[in-house]
Amino acid sequence: MARVVVDVMLKPEILDPQGKAVHGALPRLGFEGVTDVRQGKRFELEVEGEVTDERLAQLREIAGTLLSNPVIEDFEVHVP
């Protein structure tokens, strides 16, 4: 068993109202100095056997079709 992590973030040009809401809450809590917040998603996928190139290609396909929407999001696949 191995764990592979997929991070999904909105593309930089796409408005992120959730990140803005989080950012807006920080000064109210007394935290200063954070100039922006962008919110994304992290997926942890447990896979059978070794993480081969073939497996990685499959995981990239999963990340690009279901886990992210390429119109508004970018993804990165990490093997920790």
Binding site: P17, L67, N69, V71
Partner: protein, 221 residues
């Protein structure tokens, strides 16, 4: 005509859409997301709601349901498909329509009677309106902000594929006030506001929404 209305787990407005289909004089055919065939319908409505609880992204999981696979290939062959609200989100996730719908810029769920201008009548779903006609139908969404790249938006405008635009206020931050778009062929339309809630006097703001369900027969097929 036989118009199918798809129910997904979490659909909300499927029964209202069926009713609108009947008020417009057609037969409403109930379709279930797990079905594998389209029951020989002449057109399909993807209703509003929160399919699969809006998990992952609105419409992202519904897109891969067995019936959506059938609908995507039938739509590519010319089957008229109207996606309302969550249905619009599903059509964008399916890449039958360009762009995407993200959370409203004001971070609030918006519910209001919304004035729209019908901009394209080159679709069986909008052919009963006149170009530039102003209508009022309910709008209710939390993730109705239409976004697409500038090139895509320019292309949509140049090809007359913006179906409807918000008037008075832009309720959700949609780029260029876009409330609905169509594909190049015109058979697939996505609309964020809800015409199915404006088809009968005494229920909603009037009957301006009925035209979408009239579905001009000459243009189907």
């Amino acid at each position: 005509m036989r118009i199918g209305v798809v129910t997904f787990p979490g659909s909300l407005d499927d029964v209202d859409a069926q009713r609108a289909v009947r008020v417009a004089g057609h037969e409403a055919v109930t379709l279930w997301h797990r079905d594998h065939d389209l029951a020989k319908v002449d057109a399909v409505v993807l209703p509003g709601g929160f399919s699969y609880g809006d998990y992952l992204r609105c419409g992202a999981i519904s897109r891969f349901s067995p019936l959506m696979t059938e609908i995507v290939s039938a739509a590519e062959g010319g089957l008229p498909v109207l996606g309302i609200c969550n249905g619009f989100q599903i059509l964008c996730e399916s890449h039958l329509l360009p762009g995407a719908l993200i959370r409203n810029d004001r971070r609030r769920f918006v519910c209001r009677d919304q004035r729209l201008r019908v901009e394209s009548t080159a679709s069986p779903w909008t052919a009963s309106y006149t170009e530039g006609q102003e209508i009022v139908v309910p709008l209710k969404n939390g993730e109705g902000c239409y976004v697409a790249s500038e090139e895509t938006l320019d292309e949509l405008e140049a090809e007359g594929r913006v179906v409807a635009r918000y008037l008075d206020v832009n309720p959700n931050g949609s780029m260029r006030d876009i409330a609905g778009v169509r594909n190049a062929r015109g058979n697939v339309v996505g609309l964020m506001p809800h015409p199915e809630h404006a088809v009968e006097d005494g229920f909603g703001p009037g009957t301006d929404g009925l035209g979408f369900f009239t579905l001009v027969e000459a243009l189907v097929g």
